[in-house]
Amino acid sequence: MSGVHVSTTINGDAVEFVCNADEPLLDVLRNRLGMTGAKEGCGTGDCGACSVTINGRLVCSCLVLGAEVNGAKVGTIEGMAKGDQLHPLQKNFISHAALQCGICTPGFLIAAKALLDKNPDPSEEEIRFGLAGNLCRCTGYDKIVRAVQATAKEMRGA
């Protein structure tokens, strides 16, 4: 199998890699680039644990080929904090105990950020449907929704 050469931008940094033509972006991130923040819970787009953004759009990185991101801008959980400053969502997930095992947390944070970027004042229902593509088996979602509500309020300066 001949490799595909890809030049892309991940979290603002220029990155080049060679991957197999049929290799999902998730595998590239995890196995070739050492960015294991995106998790594989299913590999079929049903759990959202591998969520990243491509050109600002929320996607499952297991359903994107590595070859496709040539020239694109990829955002992952590793780029969410700015230096030593956690994003307000990250802070609120910790302070609201919105994670137990934590395996779904990176995906939830990426999805929640995409939601708030688009809708800074979501209703509870909008939050729940906005995060419906991310499975969590530990929390019953209660504290996750509350952490997102608190963040939205905080970021609106309310």
Binding site: K39, G41, T44, C47, A132, K143
Partner: protein
């Protein structure tokens, strides 16, 4: 050391507060390392070849073509895993489940495994392995498997617990019974009797992280295993036994764990990875796919339960009788027994009998799932009790309060209860605002109770005081949901240190003595006990060192608020010494300061919960929505209330999924049809409301802080609470879990005709 359990009126400075969890930043930045996040230099990738048949003889496995494929470094079959279990049936079953021997016993049963230089090569190799099967008749249903016409899965299983032992093998490996009194007389005394058969379908723990490990065994017999597990010590012991290794030579490091709920208490592919690594002399990484997790890890039992309860018109239950059939998958187990023990545990019954029948079917080997076996039994009992209340014309909560077990009650499984919380949760439910809130159209309210034993087990803890006076705590129980924070709180509480000055780590198997699994809701209970004891031992050393620094006798020093102080004015007039000061001088007063403890944490407190639930049903489609949900549970003592609430909410959510939509669906061919998150429908965020919680604290007299386990009980009541709510909403008694829309719609249309 004997622990002071005189906690009454204990005043806590830190226990009961809600500090930030120490692993929080790692987990929100993607840095935390889970099972699949670790890679060893030079590692191979392993894949497992699995049976497509539910039941078949393996006539031949030909791996020769696969072996010739470039990049394939090792292939194993059962021939590479000789049976070293020396008559231990339980271990032999584990071995046979890890890799099929003469027969495949379920769809997904492993038959061979490959390690190759990459995923692509390993995939190709799997396709080159040829297995000749001779198909055998199969049975996947718990009731069908008991019929005389059913194919017998193991010809060496003869029902245990009946006299005389049968001479013919069957799929019923064991029977047992629990109870006391005279149920025949009890039913004669009853004015009203309710009798039904209830069914529940098989569910999976549904943890988001698939099983993953990296094994590294070298020819000198030493090995390392990185793995996501609920109990790395148990994994170590079992893997070493199956592979013929010295336990001490296998070091197991537990990764962060992405959910377990009982499913990671059992070894599945780990021995295969170790055997492949040993054969290839290279590190081997083996990760299950989601499909494999559903098909071949350890889901719970499906069940069929006959339930009969009788009562007087005043609500006094005169007799209760249950017959519980649970399957253990393709291997003998005792899941029905645990169901039978828990079934009637909430009540004070004069005449009670619960009988268990264990069943073997062609499905994956059943593993524990959060309060294993209790939710199904509670579904049957609590449904029947609700119906009884209706028949008598009594309020469902009142009927339960009237019959609730209390201190001094003989439990249905035998022992007499000490102080327990069932009555308190029921009173709290009765007075809860949720109970009085109005209901809308097509809505119904239901409530139910649940019980779980909880347990303790072998545990150890090392506390080390570092030279700057901050402290590390090493424990051997996995942190599945925030226990590092709770343990840190307890250590800080005892030592009088700030929570921030305590760092809790999970030690690998070579750094600490054996610890049992994190299961049975024992993490905070038993590791807490060991931590408190280790801290108290550490304090003794700290006092001794202070005594040396002051040149006074050891017993003239006391420990208060994180400082050594002279016991009284007679002892001398010294300003208190902080841990920091004592630690700084440690090199001159006897060397490093530490406290250890190893114990068997007996005396776990039983716990009870009462749940209330409102359901709305669309009468035209049978679709239901949970509108409101309240969990009331006794925690004994909540060390970190946020994570106690989290356990309550998580258990309730899993129970809601089980009650409404989750189920294993097998085809006529005996193959699992919904091995993925698309069609195995766990609740998503938009399916659930906020889940209200109420923590009651009825201290466990056997724990220094009064802790009971909290992790499991919360999954026990939901099946019944939702069934009761659903039945009230649609006016038909629902007796089959999950109450999926087709079942509900069918029940509604049957009611109309």
């Amino acid at each position: 050391m004997p622990l002071d359990t005189n906690f009454t009126n204990q005043k806590f400075k830190q226990v009961g507060t809600r500090p930030l969890r120490p692993d929080g930043v790692d987990k929100v930045t993607g840095r935390a390392k889970y099972g699949a996040d670790y890679n060893a230099p030079g590692q191979l990738i392993a894949l497992v070849l699995r049976s497509p048949h539910a039941h078949a003889k393996i006539k031949k496995i030909d791996t020769s073509k696969a072996e010739k494929l470039a990049g394939v470094k090792a292939i194993i079959t059962s021939a590479d895993l000789p049976d070293l279990t020396a008559g231990d049936r339980g271990m032999r079953d584990i071995l046979e489940n890890c890799m099929a021997r003469k027969k495949v016993l379920y769809d997904g049963h492993a038959v061979a495994a490959v390690a190759a230089i990459d995923q692509t090569t390993a995939r190709k190799a799997l396709k080159l392995i040829q297995v000749d099967y001779e198909m055998l008749p199969h049975v996947t249903d718990v009731d069908e498997a008991l019929k005389p016409s059913a194919p017998v899965i193991h010809n060496d299983i003869f029902t245990e617990g009946v006299e005389p032992t049968p001479t013919k093998p069957s799929n019923n490996n064991k029977r047992a019974s629990f109870g006391h009194g005279d149920i025949v007389q009890g039913f004669k005394d009853a004015d009203v009797i309710v009798e039904h058969t209830y069914k529940t379908e098989q569910t999976h723990q549904g943890y988001i992280e698939p099983h993953a490990c990296v094994a590294n065994v070298s020819p000198d017999g030493q090995g390392e295993l990185w793995v996501c597990t609920q109990g790395h010590f148990v994994y170590r012991n079992q893997c070493a036994a199956l592979l013929g290794m010295d336990i001490s030579k296998l070091r197991v490091t537990a990764s962060e764990i992405g959910g377990g709920f009982g499913g990671k208490t059992h070894i599945w592919t780990e021995p295969l990875a170790l055997a492949l690594s040993r054969k290839a002399n290279r590190p081997v990484k083996l990760t299950m796919t989601r499909d494999e997790v559903f098909r071949c890890s350890g889901p719970t039992s499906s069940t069929s339960i006959d339930m009969k309860i009788g009562a007087k018109k005043d609500g006094t239950i005169t007799a209760a009788h249950g017959v519980l059939r649970y399957h253990g998958g393709a291997f003998p187990a005792t899941w029905a027994e645990f169901g039978a023990m828990t079934a009637f545990a909430c009540y004070d019954l004069k005449n009670v009998k619960s009988e268990s029948i264990e069943v073997i079917v062609n499905r994956p080997k059943t593993a524990a799932y959060r309060a294993p076996s209790a939710p199904m039994a509670a579904f049957a009992v609590e449904s029947a009790i609700d119906e009884l209340a209706k028949k008598i014309g009594m309020d469902a909560v009142e009927l339960r309060i009237k019959n609730a077990a209390k201190q001094g009650t003989q439990s249905s499984y035998g022992p007499v209860y000490g102080p327990i919380g069932i009555g308190a949760t029921l009173e709290a439910a009765k007075n809860h605002a949720h109970m009085k809130a109005p209901l809308g159209k097509n809505q119904g309210r239901g409530m139910a109770c649940g019980f779980w034993f909880n347990f303790g087990g072998q545990t150890c803890c090392d506390i080390n005081v570092t030279p700057d006076g901050t402290v590390t705590v090493a424990v051997g129980t996995i942190d599945v949901g925030g226990s590092r924070a709770s343990i840190g709180l307890m250590a800080a509480e005892e030592l009088g240190l700030a929570y921030e000055n305590v760092r809790v780590v999970i030690a690998d198997t070579s750094s600490l003595g054996h610890n049992d699994m994190t299961d049975g809701s024992r993490g905070t209970f038993s590791t807490g006990m060991a931590t408190i004891a280790a801290a108290r031992n550490c304090i003794k050393v700290l006092c001794a060192r202070a005594a040396k620094m002051w040149d006074i006798p050891e017993d003239a020093v006391v420990w208060e608020d994180g400082h050594a102080k002279p016991a009284g004015t007679n002892a001398g007039n010294f300003p208190p010494l902080s841990i920091k000061e004592i630690a700084a001088a440690a090199g001159n007063t006897g060397g490093p300061i530490a406290g250890h403890n190893e114990l068997v944490a007996d005396g776990a407190g039983v716990s009870f919960a009462t749940h209330i639930c409102d359901i709305e049903v669309d009468p035209e489609t049978g679709r239901s929505t949970v509108k409101r949900y309240t969990v009331i549970q006794d925690a004994g003592k909540a060390i970190h209330p946020s994570y106690v609430e989290g356990q309550y909410q998580g258990g309730a959510a899993q129970g809601i999924g089980w009650a409404l939509n989750e189920e294993y669906i097998y085809g006529k061919d005996g193959r699992l049809q919904n091995a993925g998150f698309l069609d195995y429908r766990i609740p998503v965020c938009s399916d659930l409301p906020f889940i209200d919680t109420m923590i009651l604290e009825i201290p466990n007299p056997n724990h220094p802080y009064g802790v009971r386990g909290v992790g499991e009980t919360s999954i026990v009541p939901p099946l019944a609470a939702i069934a009761n709510a659903m039945s009230n909403a649609v006016g038909v008694r629902m007796t089959h879990i999950p109450m999926s829309p087709p079942r509900v719609l069918k029940a509604i249309s049957n009611r109309k005709h």
